[in-house]
Amino acid sequence: MLLKGKVHKYGADVNTDAIIPARYLNVSEPAELAKHCMEGIDKDFVSTVKPGDIIMAITNFGCGSSREHAPLAIKAAGVSCIIAKTFARIFFRNAINIGLPLLECDEAVDKTKAGDILEIELASGKIKNLTGGMVFTAKPYPDFMAELIAAGGLIEYTKSRLVSRRI
């Protein structure tokens, strides 16, 4: 899959309260959540994000609560991929489970500026910075995670596991 979009860049330790403040957690519809995406850190995000855009951050992106509302809001806002050096553990699981691609790549984070246009080939982890004319390669997923992603997320993976148990 080829993804292409503009980079919205943030710092280290972007927490889930910044991604979707808890006062909006009285609903769980992704489209509703998307209206407040990144509100705690970037009030202009919702008005400037375009389908396909990419969120980039330094380290420990998505720390804090377990709320799946955070990756759901980001995905429903149209973001195609998040790139960081590291992700908080629960956020990482949640994003993979719901089919929001994440890539870990130190070099891309160090050399990419806000507003740059990136083109990403998910299968190979190749990240092209079209603005700066650079190419980076993200850390490959462990085999198990790749299998989960290929299945289409955790629910699809679980469905096929249950089917094979019955057989």
């Binding site: 006062r23 553990r89 198990f144």
Partner: protein
Amino acid sequence: MTLAEKILASHTDKKKVSPGEFVTVRVDLILANDVTAPIAIKEFQRIGVDKVFDPKKVVMVPDHFVPNKDIASAEQAKLMRDFCYEQGIIYFEVGQMGIEHVLLPEQGLVLPGDVVIGADSHTCTYGALGTFATGMGSTDIAAAMATGDVWMKVPPTIKLVYHGGLGKWVGGKDLILYTIGDIGVDGALYSVMEFTGEAIDSLSIDGRFTIANMAIEAGAKAGIFRVDNKTQLYIKSRAKRPYRVYEPDSDAEYAQIIDYDVSNIEPQVALPHSPANTKPVSQVGDIEINQTVIGSCTNGRLEDLRLAARILKRRKVHPRVRCIIIPGSQQVYLDALTEGLIEIFIKAGAVVSTPTCGPCLGGHMGVLADGERCISTTNRNFVGRMGSLESEVYLSNPTVAAASAIAGRIVSPEEVVT
């Protein structure tokens, strides 16, 4: 193997597990709350099975926005309640419920040697009892409700050893804030924190819950304690099923061993906007406050309320401060009432609430306005955590929070207890 590795291995078909390995782990208890359950239920229904794998191993607790603060949150609570009744899942209605991480151990639902997963990041609290407990998202919980197991990458373990005796007014909250201040909010990312040493041995179970609770604030997958006589005593009257106590092997491999001498540390305060932004209370400076919150899954237990009462007894909350005290469960509330703590709080000018997560996450029962400051015994002080993006949260133990409520600014308990 470490304590965490032993518990995980015992819940797989393997004899031994090692850090980095992907394993399928059987779970003893699955938890969700009124914020995370609605998504979990919708995802569960997509899987195409009619029943959860075992309704006696699933528990749902309405605690975040209850008693419901608005129509939307009432709809979410209703969706969860209906699912629980339909499935026969363990459920605690308002009147029986408490803050999930205070309630579940109190009810004997989490025991040593268990693997517990919960759709709440503070699920790691149960590690205080020698349980492997970790927070996950709603979809993970949905899948586990169908299969009874969950995939995990075996985490490495960091051993933290706390030497020395604890000073006056210093407790579990101060040890964990001090630790996060040292290693940072991602200092234990993906790892297990195993808490040991004589300072840990000297802590009550309530103090250990506070430490385990905030392991997530250092990025950890779990926090864990060895079972001792205090744990056995806590469990004895509560356990309704057999459990097994595991010990780390003498040759267990740790990713890191960190030693702290805590005999000279003061009560700690985490300044805005990170739990790692810690200072000893004497170095915080002159910070006026508008509100104090004493409660939450971190510090809403009986010992916490007793400590707050020691400070508030025969004293008055500053006239410009709202002091909100929230017992973590109905049992804690009742015990506090019987012991006379509630009377002390009310006479001091504090307000006492029914159990709820409420203000900790800016939900209700104490949301902050622009420019307001709160000192709170909760676990997070991120931008906007308790309300306005222009408000500030300072984290501390219950004695510092209570003393600050009296002084109207952040002070050491020593300043008000003379």
